[in-house]
């Protein structure tokens, strides 16, 4: 499944001629461990099901990984993939929840998702609905102050139905996170903000599933899963390269990339 998702991401961005492969590829296992396992409760025939789990892609530029996952899960026809970023498409450059089945929240302005997740988790608790809220952020995104406002809210409210996942790939748009505005160490930061913190290899699906299950078993605190990843994972020339944050592969590059993906992760 991860191979298919990676292939879909690259083909989508290639046909759109713009988009963000780096941060989409780094989140493939994070997303597939959630949606393609017994972790995340959803029903493709009833995307408004009350006790579904909620997912918020706060790093909205990674839309292609969400689209690939939702399409492969069956929320919409995969034929839409090739319309990514085109006029009239349900697959907007950044997710637009209004027109996208299976997507709970629009995104694109970084730093806002965790607050929304806090609101959702609180509402679920108030309504006695047994469901969890997952929110994926980038590590660069942690530079937005709102993230830390939300972190304190989540801890204050003891939202143990809330799981933050940090795609810890070390790179943002302009370069290395540590060179621009260092956000590390993450484990200690989130622990001191009263989160239950789990560190995992973000490209190991089994480890990720285990982490999600630890989150579910955890009581009294929100959870932060720090998923160590590689930006551009799976395509050697995109890996750890900030230039591929927001660049579409050309025909030649796509061919090379798909071949590498066929070979599997190193």
């Amino acid at each position: 499944m991860e191979k298919i998702i990676r292939k879909d991401i690259l083909e989508m961005i290639h046909s759109a001629k713009s988009g963000h492969p780096g941060g989409a590829l780094s989140a493939v296992e994070i997303m597939s461990a959630l949606y393609f396992s017994d972790v995340f409760r959803y029903d493709v025939n009833d995307s408004a099901m009350e006790n579904r789990d909620r997912f918020i892609l706060s790093k909205g530029h990674a839309a292609p990984v969400l689209y690939a996952v939702l399409g492969n899960a069956g929320f919409f026809d995969k034929k839409h993939f090739k319309t990514l970023r085109k006029f009239g498409s349900i697959l907007q450059g950044h997710p637009h929840a209004k027109h996208l089945n299976g997507c709970d929240m629009s995104a694109g302005s970084l730093g806002q998702g965790l607050s929304i997740a806090v609101g959702k988790a609180l509402a679920l608790r108030m309504k006695n609905i047994d469901a969890n809220v997952y929110c994926l952020v980038g590590d660069g995104e942690l530079q937005e102050g709102q993230i830390w406002e939300a972190t304190m809210s989540a801890a204050q409210l003891k939202l143990d139905n809330l799981c933050l996942i940090v795609d810890y790939n070390g790179i943002q748009l302009d370069g290395n996170v540590a060179d621009i505005k260092d956000v590390y160490p993450l484990k200690e930061k989130f622990e001191s903000f009263n989160f239950n913190v789990i560190e995992v290899d973000g490209h190991n699906k089994e480890e990720l599933i285990k982490a999600y299950k630890m989150f579910k078993a955890n009581v009294g605190k929100p959870t932060a899963i720090i998923a160590k990843t590689v930006k551009g994972k799976g395509v050697s020339f995109m890996e750890n390269n900030a230039n591929w944050h927001g660049l579409a592969p050309n025909d030649e590059e796509l061919k090379l990339a798909l071949k590498e993906i066929e070979g599997g992760l190193k």
């Binding site: 713009s18 006029f87 450059g93 995104a107 937005e144």
Partner: protein, 313 residues
Amino acid sequence: MINNKPPRDGYGEALLDLCRNDENILVLDADVAKSTRTIWVKEQFPNKFLDVGISEQDLIGISAGLASEGIVPFASTYGVFLSGRGFDQIRTTVCYDDLNVKLVGAHAGISVGPDGATHQALEDMALMSVLPNMTLIAPCDSNEAYSATMAMFKHKGPCYIRFGREAIPLFTNKEDDFQIGKAKVLKEGNDCTVFACGSMVHEALMAQEILEKEGISISVVNVHTIKPLDNETVLKFAKKTNCAVIAQEHQKIGGLCGVVSQYLAQTYPVPIEYVGVADTFGESGEPAELMKAYGLTKNDIVLAVKASISKKK
């Protein structure tokens, strides 16, 4: 043949010239330095550059602090996040204390294209135009962006400049006289006046050519400074043509449309038509495709001119 060039290039070139003169500036960005062209400063004058990361509110606050100590900050990022995310910081820190902060909103307008609605600043001029002490500029091409940046540097007080992502026709010269608050009359005709800013100025010039062939003679005024408005020129042309069109790559509400309409409503009411986005969000698409779909082309200006003329008494 007219060349195309993105206005942000003019901004980047001006920054480099200011750095070469060793002016007392600091160029700040919030993790979009390639897009805003501040990366040129990072590469050539690293001690005049600071990337604060993905932290727009911090960007504005730091700039305010720098300005209060006499350094001229150029706070640059996408217009949508600069004006939106940082609005309170701009209002209550920068403008209230009348601080000498230069705010640079890149990728403004719908022509941002495939990134879609979240990245298309269609409200920034409305937001900035209601702020006391603010100077608001929307240059029409890369050369005017250069001149405007230089003028902003010399001007004391808060300024916001906005321009789009795309390469657009380059039809002015860097040497042209540019004064903040002084509109430029590009064409003089008697039937209607088009007041335009930013990318709409060149569209208005093309509309003028189309209309001329149909025997309709219009004035085209480049109102690069939305605030303070060049009242004198606006009034003069309202009186000359007795109807107007206002064009901006922005919501029809606020910005140039709002400022000119309010002024004329009080001084010399004339029929006005608007060319802008009609109270809706944008979407993904190719820039030209979106400009057409959202009514922001020369043809839309032609239609608006005719509609405005037809309302004349």
